[in-house]
Symmetry: C2
Subunit: 192 residues, 2 copies
DNA sequence: TTGCCCCTGGCACCGGGTGTCACTAACGTC
DNA sequence: GACGTTAGTGACACCCGGTGCCAGGGGCAA
């Protein structure tokens, strides 16, 4: 059989993203994604542990970069500031990748099954952030404060992403900064 | 057939909770839960749209009560304060129900499949909170601020629940108040 | 060529979830 | 008391996501 171009993970991701975007995540079977990518269903599930994971690209690398940014953060600046800055920096994508990012995030945040699954992937981020805060404050990572900072900043970041998807004009960084500023400042614009 | 006591939804919930607690959510099949509750698998899925939903009890009622509390909140006090107060009040369970609540929440927050599913149920809460904030600020509920308040307070509440589960000593209300105070005050204890 | 290893596909299986149908108990009506 | 209606239940068949297992096949070293 003529092998129809070397498949490769990236090829499968594109096929999945396209199909999910056009017809919705639930209404596309893993069989269809596999067919469309020219591989078998069995092989699809060797590339990705889950149908949902086909949407996330190199998220593990994303988390790793965040971890490095945190490790390299200036110990003099406040922890919360470091975390927010790292979030902004790790999400500073080159212009060319923005359409792809939009596609991914739109799926993740609007398709119920993917939104549910996202909790598991985002939990990886939370653990990284919580560990950093714990290290900086000299408290256990399982304590309230590290977890709280992780959960709150992640909530702000997710909300910023939603706003960015709905907006289209302003940059992602602008939305992130605004969300972080509101939250870490105790929601100043609510004291009206 | 002798019908073995009128089954009823509550009976099934107990059976599910017990089995999941003892053997883990993933390692118990819906068949086993149904058998243990004296009903058929098909009937189980008429009580609950999902295996995961068997853990949540009357969560819809919980959300409704939160909504009512928000609607009845003093318009003079700051929005954020109202939201946090409503969260605390809606989670003011009578002593006798605390063991059950612990069981539920421990499962939801530690079992990966249930944690993922929780995103969908908690999103109902977010919508209620966001609508309230939107109404109070005269902005659209899809704007950044209402969503941000909803996501942040929910993150704080979830973290408080985790701490409460791990702690065992202090009351749930105490954990909630602490988490809300930290977050809405801009994490004062990080400015050390 | 031989042997090895890795990638792949096929197959059978499990478990969650759903549509459909048949049965039965409960109820009101004539 | 016979009747039709309705709601709840269970059995069955089916779809789909995910996995274990085994059989091929291509590349590569000896």
């Amino acid at each position: 059989m003529p092998a129809a171009l070397p498949a490769g993970r990236a090829r499968v991701e594109r096929a999945a993203l396209d199909l999910f975007t056009v017809r919705g995540f639930e209404d596309v079977t893993s069989d269809e994604v596999a067919d469309s990518a020219g591989i078998s269903r069995r092989t699809f599930f060797r590339y990705f542990p889950t149908k949902a994971d086909a949407v996330w690209g190199d998220f593990a690398g994303h988390v790793s970069r965040l971890e490095e940014l945190l490790a390299a953060a200036d110990p003099a600046s406040p922890v919360l500031t470091s975390v927010c800055a790292a979030y902004v920096e790790v999400n500073d994508y080159p212009e060319a990748e923005l359409p792809l990012l939009r596609e991914r995030m739109r799926l993740i945040l609007t398709e119920p099954a993917l939104l549910a699954h996202s909790q598991l992937r985002f939990a990886e981020v939370d653990r990284v952030v919580a560990r950093h805060v714990a290290a900086r404050t000299g408290t256990p990572a399982s304590g309230l404060l590290p977890r709280l900072v992780a959960a709150s900043t992640r909530a702000a970041a997710t909300t910023a992403f939603e706003a960015w998807l709905a907006d289209g004009d302003s940059s992602l960084a602008a939305h992130l900064r605004l969300a972080f500023a509101e939250m870490s400042g105790g929601f100043p614009s609510l004291r009206g």
